[in-house]
Symmetry: C2
Subunit: 334 residues, 2 copies
């Protein structure tokens, strides 16, 4: 687990789209977000108190967290300077960058001297085994998608929140870097050597109590020609008892592979069920989570109602309407 609370480093980022890690964290884990560190007045403001490193430390911050994803991956000199100060003042570092901060010699040296940790969350800290397919105890729900970027993480987090509200035992299991920073733990399965992909998914949702649910963040789509292998390894290793299909109501073509159509939702459910049955023959779909941001509220309600009629499953927009009908179904059926 990454020590909390966090100071979110926004640096000199001016583009709101580039600080989604920080906004996701402030939305899902406000209790872990003490403040933001901005280099300039025109740096993006995500609404947290502005704190210096010393102020954050005096308020109890434990980790400085990179809230942005610098394009290209290299770390600007001004950022390195701030991270060195943070380490020297007793903060750990958490980063979702592709590059490993723990391998930058100055950071590594100061962290070792100061006794602080550098969490490069894209890169696993534990040894990943080969998958076995052995049945694990406890229950698992995996969010799957008709494409990338259709709300699989958001849906999983919303499901876990609703289940906690009802007093159900549930854990959100993060399979990507932003999810890991929100959860404080997880495995970025897209960075795992493909031989160990199913093994990583098995490690992500270990044996648990009979009535405990792991709510696993899905990745990619079986219909995305770039990432379907990742989706299948995660599906097999998760041994999902239940899936929730995520979809964007406005999406016609696969992002990044624009000659490929987004699949029909029923086809996508069927294929996930067929393939998931290899490691869990009882897999079933318990609902759909639609991003309806392209529709008016009235259109969104009509869209969900029509799909519910057609697919005979609960259909919601988690952001607009919550996920209660899906959790109702889970409670009824399991």
């Amino acid at each position: 687990m990454i020590p909390t609370p966090y100071l979110l480093l926004l640096g000199d980022e001016k583009n709101k789209q580039m600080v989604k890690t920080a906004t996701g964290l402030a939305h899902w884990r406000p209790e872990h977000c003490l403040g933001q560190l901005r280099f300039h007045k025109d740096t993006v403001d995500i609404g947290l108190p502005d704190l210096s490193i010393c102020e954050a430390v005096s308020k109890g911050a434990k980790t400085i967290l990179l809230g942005t994803t610098p394009i290209g991956g290299a770390l600007p000199a001004s950022w390195k300077e701030v991270l060195l100060q943070a380490l020297a003042n007793g903060l750990n570092i958490a980063s979702g960058l592709h590059i490993r901060l723990a391998e930058i010699p100055e950071l590594k040296a100061v962290a070792a001297t100061a006794g602080q940790q550098i969490y490069d969350v894209r890169h696993p800290r534990q040894t990943i085994p080969i998958g076995t397919g052995n049945k694990r105890s406890g229950r698992r729900l995996l969010t799957v998608g008709t494409d990338c970027g259709v709300g699989k993480k958001y849906t999983a987090l919303t499901l876990a929140k609703e289940m906690h509200k009802r007093g159900l035992k549930a854990d959100f299991r993060a399979s990507g870097q932003t999810g890991i920073l929100i959860a404080g733990q997880g495995i970025a399965v897209d960075c795992i050597a493909s031989d160990f992909l199913a093994g990583a998914a098995e490690l992500l949702s270990p044996d648990n109590d009979e009535h405990h649910w792991d709510i696993i963040e899905g990745q990619g789509s079986l219909y995305n020609p770039s990432y379907a292998g990742v989706s299948l390894g995660l599906l097999h290793g998760s041994q999902a008892d239940a899936i929730v299909l995520c979809h964007d109501a406005s999406r016609q073509m696969i992002v990044g592979a624009e000659s490929f159509h987004v699949p029909d939702m029923q086809d996508c459910i069927d294929l996930n069920i067929r393939l998931g049955a290899l490691t869990n023959p009882n897999i079933r779909c318990v609902g759909l989570a639609i991003n309806t941001s392209s529709l008016s509220e009235q259109e969104a309600r009509a869209y969900c109602a029509a799909q519910e009629q057609r697919l005979q499953l609960p259909v919601v927009d988690p952001l607009r309407f919550g996920v209660r009908p899906i959790v109702d179904k889970l409670e009824r059926e399991f």
Copy 2:
């Protein structure tokens, strides 16, 4: 391309099962295998001339190739000593080990000074892109399997050899370390970060002449709970026009996941066709390659005939009977 010819390093390995890389190479590329280097009289003998490093160099060897896979992955001190001598005498090194020889400081330093290359063939030398699904020119055949270790590499090599014999334009494309050492190039897709798996498969069989065939070595099986993600990424990225299903006639359960049944061959063909159609709607199966080593020759002929009748496709044992009926079908249909 790894420079040839090779001196095959067998070291102190006494177990014939552990030198499959060397025996595969001596079988498929005898013209590239000058000799073997054994530390002791009781080291496995694969039938090549015994040569010292100096003798190999004087006969024109260009690369010393690790012919074994040490368990555990660490490199014994006696092997390192020999590799240092090889570098100092002008040989390159090729290795299919998990560990990177190029990162062992002494080897790295001597290679840099001597101007020799260290080929860690499990680890890609080129930058791997994200897959795109964009259609490529030329034709592709992928060997797929009901499980791991059922002859996908052997079948692909046999198909390429038969096609060359007929004057057809074909290249064997290696997706695993032994295949790469045989071909002198390729990408070990199981070592690629899973996000880049389909991209690696796309890079492996690039655009080519209209009538040229890439004969791609498959990996794993869609029915193997440990590796199905690898198989799917490779299937999608290969955009296979044709598949050949490989199967071991004696195999009942999946190796390493013994509660999982080896699938029915027709089911396995159907699933590969269904999933492969995402990136190539014209994908079809052109035959089956069976490992019948558990059967007598008469039983093997009866087995192949019965399956041919049932599946309505050419069914051969490549080792015993060759692959002519499959290449006949390819020539008829394409």
